[in-house]
């Protein structure tokens, strides 16, 4: 249709033009003669003469780019055509002024596709970009194309053949690191101020260097949650590495990328770069498919200062963020909003996924007379499982146990006078009927909280320096929680549970000298106390056999390096490395053993214990034997050198005598000592004589 218009215009114009050009025909009546003299040759081309006018001359192709075709429009009869037109106008007029629209009809009904012409190409392009895929309702998802793409269709070759299947690229066994016979774990180390990245294999004696790559990353590295990939950061984007040789598995171009987050299943990766966003072209947050490298969806960052912006559900089926006083939950694989709408929660403060179920918890603060509220909601059903109102709330923090069995909300509350604070812990027992909530009151502020992984125990650090205490609580059936023990006067500020529970390290990081206290929660006892002075980081290895503590160059410029401890708190290895920045254990995927198998192994642990102990003893024996052997050879070598030197020294005896004119050599003892008495002040004592 637009073509018609342009054609018409063209015709009109060309008529005028003809008129102009043939102007002399009409001017015959004029007396004056404008005819070219006889034999005149026109050397001036039209272009020179009226180039500016010609440049504006429309062509049939003009306007074709501002025309779009919309498919999948509902088929309606005449009676509802106006209504449809209104809806269409509403959707498409936000991209620009609509100049023309056309609804082809057949048998009194629309054909299900329409043409829209915009005032300019830009608007049309915009409409194609954004309205494509617009969900009018369940059955009508618009497919918007520029009209010009018809040309492509026309140009199709007659003998079309399907694209060739790309050969399968074997990336090797990405889980090969799990095949280590001794189940040793790997870790990455960044040192040299960020210039160098090494991968080590931790063994019971000395770490083995597996890979060394200078300039592997430009900022830092991170492991994917199950340890399959190592992600490195570059100006152009993210690269993922894996397999035996740490070869490149994928790359994701995102200029200036600063932060990434993997989905728990490692299928997707979220990248963030502080690029300017436009509503039509969000580019600051991108979600990628790890395996194909495809860009799944881009989001605007908004004014979120917290990373990760998106929180993933435990299996990676959903991801959610807070946006405009609502929780927006998106679903995989469509990457669209779940049920097409956010959950409106006015003035929501924070939310969290349960690590064990598709359950979300969130809280909102007190506003005027409405109390603060903690809600637990099931996804995708959106039914509220439990709501708890809280009064006089200053702030809340939510902590999920890693299986989703418990949720603890630590609440800072005002006293009646609003001058002081007191503290509550609200523990939701999710596995019990109607989710009973247990409340514990505390006099002191809680500075750190951590659940025992897979367990019922949690640890808190409370109180102000110098009266800092650490307490352990255990949750019991029937919605009860009991205090196990409080350890007083501790110089600690962080809690690190072993990945399988039972053991726990309380650490005094950064400002606190680096005290490391190792606890066993079966006995509820302090096993050992160590120190890594000025330590900044603590991390358990994924098996729970070792703990690493490190002093990062990023935080402090001296004494950088890392130590490795046994889980009982015995210092095993000390590595002081110049400009050491970061040490990260490579995570392991979840065990493939069923719960029954795990219990069976646990019950037969004695059998395995002996085997492993023997193995350990052997390797230690070997190591200490090697060490002794090395020392012996060093000593032998040194003594040989000394013997040689001693002989040389003795040969020079005469020369030395010559220099000191016959005085005894310094090797010889002088016998005639003078007696000298020296007084020492040893002790001062005062006593009253009666």
């Amino acid at each position: 249709m637009a073509n018609e218009i342009t054609d018409e215009n063209n015709q009109n114009l060309s008529e005028e033009e003809t008129k102009e050009i043939n102007g002399n025909e009409d001017g015959e009546e004029d007396e004056s003669q404008f005819d070219d003299p006889e034999g005149f040759v026109d050397t001036i081309s039209d272009k020179d003469l009226l180039g500016d006018v010609l440049a504006k001359r429309p062509s049939p192709e003009d306007g074709i780019d501002s025309l779009i075709v919309v498919d999948n429009v509902p088929v309606v009869g005449q009676d509802r055509l106006d209504k449809l037109k209104n809806v269409i106008k509403k959707v498409f007029s936000k991209f620009g002024k609509i100049v023309n629209e056309f609804y082809p009809e057949e048998n009194g009904k629309t054909k299900g596709y329409i043409f829209i012409e915009y005032a300019n190409e830009k608007d049309a392009a915009q409409a194609v970009k954004i309205a494509n895929g617009y969900k009018l309702d369940k059955h009508h998802i618009f497919i918007v194309n520029p009209f010009s793409s018809f040309d492509c269709m026309l140009d199709l070759e007659e003998d079309w053949s399907p694209p060739e299947k790309e050969p399968y690229e074997d990336k090797g066994n990405l889980h090969s690191w799990l095949l280590d016979a001794d189940c040793n774990d790997q870790y990455s180390v960044i040192h040299g101020g960020g210039e160098k990245v090494d991968i080590y294999l931790n063994t019971s004696t000395e770490p083995v260097l597996l890979k060394e790559r200078p300039g592997w990353t430009e900022t830092y590295v991170t492991w994917s949650p199950q340890g399959t990939y190592l992600a490195t950061f570059h100006k152009q984007g993210i690269a993922l590495w894996g397999g035996d040789e740490f070869s490149r598995i994928g790359k994701f171009g995102h200029q200036g990328v600063q932060m990434i987050d993997f989905s728990p299943c490692e299928r997707y990766i979220v990248t963030f770069s502080p690029l300017p966003d436009t509503p039509s072209d969000p580019q600051s947050i991108i979600i990628w498919d790890v395996r194909t490298g495809a860009k799944k969806r881009a989001f605007q960052c908004g004014n979120v200062a917290r990373w990760p912006v998106f929180k993933w559900s435990h299996k990676g089926e959903y991801f959610a963020r807070i946006r405009d006083e609502a929780i927006s939950i998106y679903e995989i694989p469509s990457f669209g909003l779940l049920d097409k709408k956010s959950i409106k929660v006015p003035s929501i403060s924070d939310f969290a996924w349960s690590p064990g179920d598709n359950v979300i918890s969130y809280w909102l603060p007190e506003i005027k007379d409405t109390p603060a509220r903690v809600t637990i909601m099931a996804v995708p059903g959106r039914e509220e499982l439990r709501v708890k109102n809280l009064f006089n709330v200053a702030t809340c923090k939510m902590y999920w146990q890693n299986k989703g069995d418990y949720l603890c909300v630590v609440v800072d509350r005002y006293t009646k006078s609003k001058k002081a604070l007191h503290y509550n812990m609200e523990i939701f027992h999710l596995r019990e009927k109607q989710i009973p909530v247990d409340t514990l009151e505390l006099k002191e502020a809680v500075s750190a909280f951590a659940w025992e992984p897979q367990g019922d125990t949690f640890a808190i650090i409370h109180g102000e320096s110098p009266k800092i205490s650490a307490s352990f609580y255990r949750c019991q059936k029937g919605g009860h929680t009991t205090l196990l023990k409080t350890f007083e006067k501790k110089q600690v500020n962080n809690i690190f549970w072993a990945p399988r529970g039972q053991f726990c390290v309380l650490a005094g990081l950064r400002g606190m000298n680096g005290t490391m206290e190792f606890y066993d929660l079966n006995e509820v006892a302090l096993m050992n106390v160590g120190e890594h002075f000025t330590a900044t980081d603590v991390e358990w290895d994924p098996s729970g056999r070792y703990v690493s503590t490190s002093v990062s160059w990023w935080a402090q410029k001296v004494d950088n390096g890392y130590n490795i401890w046994s889980f009982q708190g015995k210092l095993l290895q000390r590595h002081s490395i110049n400009q050491f920045c970061q040490m990260l254990w490579r995570p392991r995927p979840q065990t493939l053993l069923s719960d029954d198998q795990v219990t069976k192994i646990k019950s037969e642990i004695k059998k395995y214990q002996k085997m492993f102990e023997n193995k350990d003893r052997m390797s230690q024996k070997k190591a200490s034997k090697e060490l002794i052997e090395k020392r012996r050879s060093m000593m032998r070598e040194f003594l040989e050198y000394r013997d040689r030197k001693k002989r040389e020294f003795q040969e020079q005896e005469d020369q030395r005598h010559e220099l000191r004119k016959g005085f005894e050599d310094l090797q010889e003892e002088v016998d005639d000592f003078e007696e000298e008495s020296v007084e020492f002040f040893i002790k001062e004592e005062q006593s009253i004589v009666e």
Binding site: F533, R631, Y641, K645
Partner: protein
């Protein structure tokens, strides 16, 4: 045993030195009053008065009758040990950084700083010749272009001296011809101190590059390395056991900003052969500038930026301890 802290100096200790018998301890400090102490009980015998600036170095001859001191007042002075009278003075154009008596005790060497437009120079004098000490004329002077000498000792039999330079190189200089005999790049940063083994066949260097190293005197062959995390200002070899003591710590200019713990002002003991640390002694609250074993190896002393000299007697357990090999 509890150490004896000698608090006689008003400013940082720069150098300490035992007499050959070990009964006396000589100390120089930035307060221009070099002192001598009884090493057995820490009593001060007296001071050598005359310098008008910080004293950088001190040495005593093998007969313990003469003492030389080099100072930032651009002079080297020779003293009578017992009376404290000044026997001679050698005026230089810049501060005297190092000084040492030769094995025979008749000759001395000293070096000056590259300073105020003057190059670093190594001087050799015969102290028996009053013409030399009285008229500022040395029998040999070696101008050193490039990095200045930061520490020096005499080699065996007085044929050459071993000097450590500001850029970490260690050189042998012939004491007669003034020629550079050998040159090794021992360290990457300034060599703060050199101390000989009791028979002078080996020596240990202490460097700002946070290591101390053991070298063979004749060949300058590198034998061992002792690694720490802080600049090492001084290192000494025990004549009794295979032990090395290192003193140092965070640089004085950074000390005020951090705690004593971070500064690491401990004296650190290493096994001479295995290069492994065997012990630490705390005490100073500033970096240790000079540390030295008693000639009998049964005690050691350290002088620090904090102005104290600490005399340490080893406990019996020190002598019982044996490294497993």
């Amino acid at each position: 045993m509890r150490p004896i802290a000698l608090h006689g100096h008003e400013r940082s200790i720069t150098h300490i030195k035992y007499s050959r018998d070990g009964d006396l301890l000589f100390s120089s400090a930035k307060d221009s009053s070099p002192s001598v102490w009884y090493s057995i009980n820490g009593e001060r015998l007296g001071t050598y008065k005359g310098h008008g600036g910080a004293v950088w170095c001190i040495d005593v001859d093998w007969t313990t009758t003469k003492v030389i001191t080099g100072s930032a007042d651009n002079s080297l002075r020779l003293w009578d040990t017992e009376t404290g009278t000044q026997l001679g003075k050698f005026d230089t154009r810049s501060a005297v950084r190092t000084c040492a008596f030769s094995y025979c005790g008749n000759r001395i060497m000293f070096s000056t700083d590259k300073q105020m437009g003057h190059a670093c120079e190594i001087f050799f004098c015969d102290i028996r010749d009053s013409a030399q000490m009285g008229h500022n004329s040395s029998y040999l002077s070696i101008p050193v272009d490039g990095p200045k000498v930061t520490s020096a000792i005499w080699g065996p039999l007085d044929y050459y001296i071993i000097a450590g330079h500001e850029n970490g190189t260690v050189c042998q200089w012939d004491s007669k011809s003034g020629q550079r005999l050998l040159n090794v790049e021992g360290h990457t940063k300034a060599v703060n101190d050199i101390q000989p083994y009791h028979d002078t066949t080996m020596f240990v260097t202490a460097s700002k590059d946070t290591t101390a190293k053991l070298f063979d005197s004749d060949s300058l062959e590198h034998l061992k390395t002792y690694k720490t995390e802080r600049p090492v200002n001084s290192a000494s070899l025990s004549s009794l056991k295979h032990h090395v003591v290192l003193g140092g710590g965070q640089e004085a200019m950074d000390v005020t900003t951090t705690s004593t713990r971070i500064g690491k002002f401990d004296a650190r003991f290493f096994h001479m052969v295995f290069e492994e640390e065997i012990g630490r002694v705390k005490g100073h609250f500033g970096p240790i500038n000079s540390v030295t074993f008693h000639p009998d190896g049964k005690s050691y002393s350290s002088g620090g930026e904090d102005g104290y000299v600490r005399l340490h007697q080893f406990d019996p357990s020190y002598f019982e301890y044996e490294f497993e090999y």
